[in-house]
Point group: C2
Chain length 126, copies 2
DNA sequence: GCCATTTCTAACCTTTTGGTGGGTATGGTT
DNA sequence: AACCATACCCACCAAAAGGTTAGAAATGGC
């Protein structure tokens, strides 16, 4: 960890590709919503998430949570009781991703109106 | 524009939805790659972009650039000559989006290894 | 004994996405 | 006269994403 440039911006092309893939994976619509919900709601169970995230199907929630768990973003805790009880919470990594997305989030909030204006203008020209 | 909280974090649910949609739109794989290429290469024409963005099809490039133009992220300049000559460059808005994505970009770069480790561990357990 | 509960899987089917190949315009080159 | 170059558009097809439904599994309450 000694003699390297601080943050090599766009290092090797294959690393670039991996980074792009990772962003693509992680910038998924449902992942974003689940991430947000876990950030503001803390640890919660499957059913709560399903209710909190508007419009998600059970299948997508399961799928999204599995992928997030695989990527090390959430921890899944199974309490072996009947009926099943499963909790999900963010890891440090997951939390740091949430913070990284703040910039985009703020951008979207701050520029939503501008984008909408641009769209109207675009759609209005013949 | 007078009496509101500075930056209402997650204001109304319908604004939330719009912001989410916008992020979803903008966090698209091809949009990200084109954005990156336009950031580092500056203004350039269609063919150059097609060559620079690895693996993009003509259709996707056209589609992506159109969407970005509609959202006010790029400006499309047509030089009415034969054969056609069209230049694309980022707007201020587009550039600011690029900066907003830096956080995610850095996160992905910094945590790529951690994610890969997590995946291996996940896949290895029976 | 039967039903409700909770999470998750598997089947099926629809919608969306994206690639390919063909077509268009037009003036300069061969 | 045929052809090339450039930036598209359009029609078609394959693949992937995602919704819906059914059901498994185990057990405490009726």
């Amino acid at each position: 960890m000694a003699n390297q440039p601080i943050t090599s911006y766009s290092t090797a092309p294959e690393v670039d590709a991996l980074v792009n893939d990772l962003i693509g994976r992680v910038a998924d619509k449902w992942t974003l919503l689940v991430l947000e919900q876990l950030e503001e709601g803390g640890e919660q169970r499957f059913g709560a998430l399903a209710r909190a995230v508007p419009g998600i199907s059970q299948k997508m929630l399961t799928q999204t949570l599995r992928a997030m768990e695989r990527d090390g973003l959430v921890i899944r805790t199974v309490h072996p009781v009947i009926p099943p009880h499963v909790d999900y919470r963010l890891t440090t990594l997951g939390h740091s991703l949430g913070e990284a997305f703040c910039g985009v989030w703020h951008w979207a909030e701050a520029n939503l109106a501008a984008v909408q204006r641009s769209r109207s203008a675009f759609d209005a020209r013949d």
